[in-house]
C-alpha cells in the first residue's frame, strides 16, 4: 500500500502516469495547495516496483509492503541496465 504526504504533493500526476500497472488514480479531496493528491485504486495490482516513489519530485509518496500479500520484492535498486559496463 502507499502513503502520501498530502501537503507536499504538487499535483503533477507523474506517479499516476508512470505506474506500469495503472494502479493509481487522483483522489477526490483537495490538499492545502488546491490540487488532488494520488491514491491507490480500490482494485489494484501493485507489485511494489517503487517507480512512483522514485519518480516523485517532492518525495511525497512512500511504498510500504503489505505483510499478507505474497509478492517477490526487489533486492537492489542498482541492477545494471544499459551503460558500458
Amino acid at each position: 500500500m502507499i502513503q502520501v504526504k498530502e501537503d507536499w504533493c504538487k499535483g503533477c500526476d507523474l506517479c499516476i502516469e508512470k505506474c506500469p500497472l495503472n494502479a493509481l488514480e487522483q483522489s477526490e479531496h483537495l490538499n492545502k495547495r488546491g490540487v488532488k493528491p494520488p491514491q491507490l485504486k480500490k482494485i489494484n495490482d501493485c507489485n511494489y516496483c517503487r517507480l512512483c516513489e522514485l519518480i516523485c519530485p517532492d518525495l511525497a509518496i512512500t511504498v510500504i509492503k503489505d505483510k499478507n500479500k505474497k509478492i517477490e520484492e526487489k533486492k537492489s535498486l542498482l541492477r545494471p541496465v544499459g551503460g558500458r559496463k
Binding site: 507536499w8 504538487k10 516523485c56 519530485p57 518525495l59 512512500t62 541492477r79 551503460g83
Partner: protein, 298 residues
C-alpha cells in the same frame, strides 16, 4: 546487497527539517535529480559530515539548501572554482557540485574547462533544462536550434553547446548524460560518478514546463516528459545505427540526443600528484627541481 529504505526514511536522514516542500514548479525535473542523488548516497554510505555541496545561481543551485550537509551557495558560474579551494584546504572532504546549463556552460565555462583538465577530485551534476529558468526564461547556450525563449522570440539561430563532448575531450574520468524519466540507470551512474576519483560529470536533461515547455508548445507536464523519452536514444544504439543501419533508420535517429555513459577511465587526479610533490620536497628538502623531460603528448 543493501537493504532498501523507503522514501520516508530517506527524508529524515538527508533533508533539512522544515525546508521542504521546495520552491520548484509543478512538474519540474530538479526534485527528481535530488532524489536520485539521495538514493546514490544511501547506497554508498558516505559520512554526511564530510560531504560538501557547492552551487552557483539558478534553480538547480537551490538544491544544496534542502540537503542536511555543509553547503556553499556562491556567485553565478563560479561554483567549480570555489569548490577547488575547498578541496585544496581539506582534501578529505567529498565534493558534489550542482550547476545548471547557463551556470556551467555559459558564464562558468572557463572554470569548468580547467577543473576538468586538471582532473580535480569532484563530481559535477549539471541539470540541463535548455533555458535560464529562475530569471524568467531567457536563452541558454545549450538550447536546441529554433527553440523559443524570451530573448530569442523568433527562434534560436545559434548552434547548441554539447558539454559532454567537451568534458570527454578534456580527459575527464567519467562523463555521462541521462534523462530523469527512468530511475535505475541514473542512480547507478551517479553512484559510479561519486565513487570515482578525479573529475566526473553527470548531465541530466530535466524538463522545465513553466519556462521551456510552455514557450515551445510542448504540451502539459505529461506530454513534456514524454517528449524527452521520445527524443533520446542510448549511445550504443545510436552508434550502431549510424554505422550499420539503413538510410531510413538513420533519418529517424539523426536528431535525437544520445544518452548514456560516454567515458569511463581512471587517470590520476590533481591532488594525488600534488601530494607526491610535497612529500618529495619535504623529505629531501630539494631546492632545485629534478631534471625531467617535458611530456609533450600524454
Amino acid at each position: 546487497m543493501v537493504e532498501i529504505k523507503t522514501a520516508e526514511e530517506l527524508n529524515k536522514k538527508y533533508l533539512r527539517e522544515g525546508m521542504w516542500p521546495t520552491i520548484f514548479c509543478n512538474g519540474c525535473g530538479h526534485g527528481v535529480v535530488l532524489e536520485y542523488t539521495f538514493w546514490a548516497l544511501e547506497e554508498l554510505g558516505w559520512d554526511m559530515d564530510k560531504t560538501v555541496f557547492s552551487s552557483g545561481i539558478g534553480c538547480s543551485s537551490r538544491l544544496p539548501g534542502y540537503i542536511n550537509a555543509d553547503g556553499l551557495h556562491t556567485t553565478h558560474g563560479r561554483a567549480i572554482a570555489f569548490a577547488t579551494g575547498i578541496k585544496a584546504a581539506n582534501p578529505d572532504l567529498n565534493l558534489i557540485i550542482f550547476t545548471g546549463d547557463g551556470d556551467c556552460a555559459g558564464i562558468g565555462g572557463n572554470h569548468f574547462i580547467h577543473a576538468a583538465r586538471r582532473n580535480i577530485d569532484m563530481t559535477v551534476i549539471m541539470i540541463n533544462n535548455f533555458i535560464y529558468g529562475m530569471t524568467g526564461g531567457q536563452l541558454a547556450p545549450t538550447a536546441p536550434l529554433n527553440s523559443i525563449a524570451t530573448t530569442a522570440p523568433y527562434g534560436n539561430i545559434e548552434p547548441p553547446f554539447d558539454i559532454c563532448n567537451l568534458a570527454k575531450s578534456l580527459g575527464a574520468n567519467y562523463v555521462a548524460r541521462w534523462t530523469v524519466n527512468h530511475p535505475y540507470q541514473p542512480i547507478k551512474s551517479v553512484k559510479d560518478a561519486l565513487s570515482k576519483k578525479g573529475f566526473s560529470l553527470v548531465e541530466f536533461l530535466a524538463p522545465c514546463p513553466t519556462a521551456f515547455g510552455r514557450r515551445n508548445k510542448l504540451g502539459d507536464i505529461k506530454k513534456h516528459w514524454q517528449w524527452y523519452e521520445d527524443n533520446t536514444i542510448l549511445i550504443e544504439d545510436y552508434e550502431r545505427i549510424m554505422n550499420y543501419g539503413s538510410e531510413k533508420e538513420k533519418e529517424e535517429v539523426k536528431n535525437k540526443f544520445p544518452i548514456g555513459v560516454f567515458q569511463d577511465w581512471e587517470k590520476p587526479g590533481f591532488f594525488e600528484q600534488y601530494e607526491k610533490l610535497v612529500n618529495r620536497l619535504i623529505e629531501k628538502d630539494v631546492k632545485k627541481p629534478i631534471k625531467t623531460k617535458a611530456v609533450v603528448r600524454k
